[in-house]
Amino acid sequence: MALVKISNVTKKYKDLLALDNVNTEVRQGRIVGLVGKNGAGKSTLMKCIIGFTKFQGRIFINGEQIKYMEHKVFEDTAFIPDINSLDGRFKVKAFIDFFKGVHPKFNEERFNSLFASSGLPLGKKISKLSKGMKTKLYLILILALDVSFLILDEPTLGLDIVYRNEFYNTILSSFYNENRTILISTHQVEEIEHILHDLIIIDQGKIITNDTIDNLLTYYKLITIDAKDRDKLNNIPHKIVTEGLSAIEVVVPRKANITGFKEAIPNLAHIFLYTLENAHETA
């Protein structure tokens, strides 16, 4: 069942077509990755989903049509845009109290259990926290909400690998269940591939893939061929992902009539690169 239904959505910024008649959906109870190059339209699509920007077309969340700047969407949807958007003027304790007071879906019990192991200093000002600590605080606050839809827009941008890893593991262990849906945008697909159920690839404002990870992995294969056999790829849609002196690694459709001396399942980064390169054939 579709939690988010996006119909004929087009968004223009002056002369730039950021979203070009997008039709897609996000299924309920799934962890969905929204990937694309920088400027592909990921953030714009997310802004449209939560009504932060005007657009042509229609978007529904849980059957409710999204309106421009309507606060009600956040009653059951949480959005983490950027860790640095926390209000640095507060002390941690005061900020938690404020958040508790303004969000009707705040689950204090869950918050306490998450906070207990966080090591966050209650008396410190948010602006004085490290980026990693801010991430923890933001995440704990959001994960303590009993909302059914979580949207993350490049949430780990600028974080080191330790915090990035912790971020996604915490989301998986403390937030996700089959009644909750998570939409994560990133351009570092390898970082989230282990938690995803579905993948949406966007390029130049168009959705070029929206499928389950299981399906995607059956569509392609990663083969290693002799560098001198490169000509065999001429009539086959492909993407060379590693190029060595004697051998090359290349993603091709599983049904393609070509074999290599080594064959493997491609990862999502490979599939992403392949899809971008062959967008017209796969769209």
């Binding site: 939560i50 606060h71 009600k72 969407v73 956040f74 958007s85 209000d87 507060f90």
Partner: protein, 295 residues
């Protein structure tokens, strides 16, 4: 209600130093007076002054002076805190601190945000200044009221009525700046003053070149503020005030009469127009805040 309470608490916490400014000013003033008293001593009974050759009763005249000064200073402090510091930043302080998007991602109705600003940026400063004004009047009466023919109750009523009269104006100007803070993302006061001065200068230049008789914006603004309903008489009828005062048998009842007339003058078409304009501005602020584009 819980949301509104949290929003107001947040605003008080973030603006606590601005809100405490009148308290700090008053405390410093008392400390200064205390210092003078301890260092050189103040003998109130032996302070006198002569006016037109006759020695005046200093404690009583001093009391009147202090109370009137108290009203002016309270008004100035209220304007400074509410209209210069707080309301021009009411709806855009989150932009300045790069956290606007965080607040926009919360399920809070914009009208609650605007209402919390009215409470924290207008009503709370008003309450603080009013309490201080009463306190100052009481202290002044304690030291200078020995020979006063006006009772403490009358003086408190006088101070209270002056502050009460300021409420619709405060609401109007406060709402105006809250609205501007919803429309303009930064430097609201500077832009507003710049606009006002700029327009006034342009009008002056235009009238001197064209010979047409057009008044400045400030002129029309002041004119409207004195008679918001445009019905003719000013919001405070000075003749009525003087006559009411003169009709009374004693100074005490005369001052009471002034207080009554000042306080009740806002229950008029003029007062209604001021409040109505404030409501329109606040409603517009809700809309401006709601549809404002995120950076």
């Amino acid at each position: 209600m819980k949301q509104l309470k949290s929003l107001i608490k947040r605003d008080i916490s973030l603006n606590r130093w601005s809100l405490l400014l009148p308290v700090i000013v008053v405390a410093v003033s008392y400390l200064f007076i205390l210092f003078i008293d301890l260092k050189w001593g103040i003998d109130l009974d032996n302070i006198g002054y002569s006016m037109e050759g006759a020695v005046q009763n200093f404690p009583f005249m001093g009391l009147i002076g202090v109370v009137i000064g108290n009203i002016w200073i309270s008004g100035a402090m209220l304007s400074l805190v509410a209209l210069v510091i707080l309301t021009p930043n009411a709806l855009n302080d989150n932009i300045k601190h790069h956290c606007e998007i965080f607040y926009k991602c919360l399920p809070i109705a914009p009208w609650k945000i605007v209402l919390s600003k009215v409470v924290s940026c207008i009503l709370i400063p008003l309450a603080i200044v009013l309490i201080l004004a009463f306190f100052n009047t009481w202290i002044a009466y304690l030291f200078l009221g020995k020979t006063s023919v006006i009772s403490l109750g009358t003086l408190l009523r006088f101070v209270g009525s002056a502050m009460f009269f300021a409420i619709p104006y405060l609401l109007l100007f406060g709402s105006f700046f809250i609205f501007l803070s919803g429309v303009l993302k930064k430097k609201v006061l500077v832009k507003f003053i710049g606009f006002l001065f700029g327009t006034n200068i342009l009008i002056k230049i235009f009238t001197s070149l064209s010979g047409l008789k057009i008044e400045t914006l400030s002129y029309y603004e002041n004119k409207w503020l004195l008679n918001p309903s445009l019905t003719g008489p000013k919001i405070i009828d000075v003749d009525l005030l003087v006559n009411g005062f003169m009709d009374k048998m004693s100074l005490d009842s005369g001052v009471n009469e002034i207080s009554k007339l000042v306080a009740t003058s806002i229950f008029s078409w003029d007062g209604f127009c001021l409040i109505f304009a404030a409501i329109i501005l606040l409603t517009s602020s809700v809309y401006a805040y709601k549809v404002r584009k995120l950076d």
